[in-house]
């Protein structure tokens, strides 16, 4: 076996000490358990306030009427579907490059939540489309790319469970997650690159926005709440996976 230079070993040296410590399953299990309530409760409060304000406080849109209020569940779902996939792919990359098994478990934990948000984005978008476009579905670039994202999540989950040796499942699903990253810019820029029925971005990074502040703040609360929710659920799922995968280890007995 060669004892030469390897990217994994070299790059492990540039990871900060806390990253190495976080990669330790017992440390992660304990830390995630302590952090989860700090994400879960603010998530519940923010989403409750954001949804109430979006449904009852925000003014009615002069073109779409009250149907526009669907954005308070649709837009955060769509944002979170992409963020979840970025987490899955990022964690899978860490798992593949630095061979950190915990990173694969975090990716597995985030994938079902991401698939749920993607399903919600598609379903609520479809419900909004019926009164606004007159149809439940069109093979529009944005919608089709979001549907591909759902298939990527489902494919990732199926592949992760397809092997008797879970480590093989980690690697195979990790590679699929990385290949699927190409779909994220396609979803994001599909409304700019092609002539689509789907409207352009309501809010952009450059600060231009197409809605008033009275409509915007409940949306931002919903986005922040949904993000915290994603973190809380992912941490909880990751703890369950950590216990299952580490069941033979002595620390698990102490943690139970």
């Amino acid at each position: 076996m060669s004892d030469g230079w390897s990217f994994t070993r070299w790059s492990a040296g540039i990871l900060p000490a806390w990253a190495h410590r976080l990669a330790s399953p017992p440390h992660f299990y304990a830390l995630a358990g302590r952090l989860t309530p700090w994400f879960a409760w603010p998530a519940a409060v923010l989403m409750a306030v954001g949804l109430f304000a979006g449904l009852f406080v925000a003014p009615t849109d002069h073109q779409q009427g009250d149907a526009f209020r669907i954005i308070y569940v649709h837009v955060p779902s769509a944002w979170l579907s992409m963020s979840s996939y970025a987490i899955v792919a990022g964690a899978a990359a860490v798992g593949l490059i630095w061979r950190i098994k915990l990173a694969h478990w975090v990716a597995h934990a985030a994938a079902p939540v991401g698939a749920s948000f993607t399903f919600l984005a598609l379903a609520t978008g479809s419900i909004w489309g019926k009164p606004m476009w007159g149809t439940w579905w069109v093979w529009d670039a944005r919608l089709t790319a979001e549907l591909v994202l759902l298939f990527l999540f489902l494919g990732y989950l199926a592949l992760a469970d397809a092997f008797d040796d879970p480590r093989k499942g980690d690697r195979a699903s990790g590679v699929l997650a990385l290949v699927g990253v190409v779909n994220l810019p396609i979803i994001k820029y599909s409304v700019d690159w092609w002539s689509t029925l789907h409207q352009p971005a309501t809010i952009t990074a450059l600060g231009k926005r197409a809605i008033t502040i009275e409509m915007l703040w409940p949306l931002l609360l919903m986005w922040l709440g949904a993000t915290l929710f994603l973190v809380a659920v992912t941490l909880t799922r990751a703890r369950a996976i950590t216990l299952e995968r580490e069941r033979a280890q002595a620390w698990v007995g102490e943690a139970l």
Binding site: A232, V233, L243, E244, L256
Partner: protein, 55 residues
């Protein structure tokens, strides 16, 4: 009984409330299934360790 205007959402009530209902259902399911996965994993491992200790 007249439905308050805010709940009727103009003539889009069915669309708005079905979207909100579906979202809440999926959020609650996600939270519950994550909690149940952790609880079941703990139970399974506790039982397995108790069986091992009894043998």
């Amino acid at each position: 009984m007249e439905i308050p205007v805010d709940l009727a959402m103009g003539r889009y009530g069915a669309y708005v409330w079905s979207s909100v209902g579906l979202t809440l259902l999926v959020l609650v399911y996600n939270a519950w299934s994550a909690y149940a996965a952790l609880r079941d994993a703990r139970r399974r491992l506790r039982r397995a360790r108790a069986d091992q200790a009894a043998r």
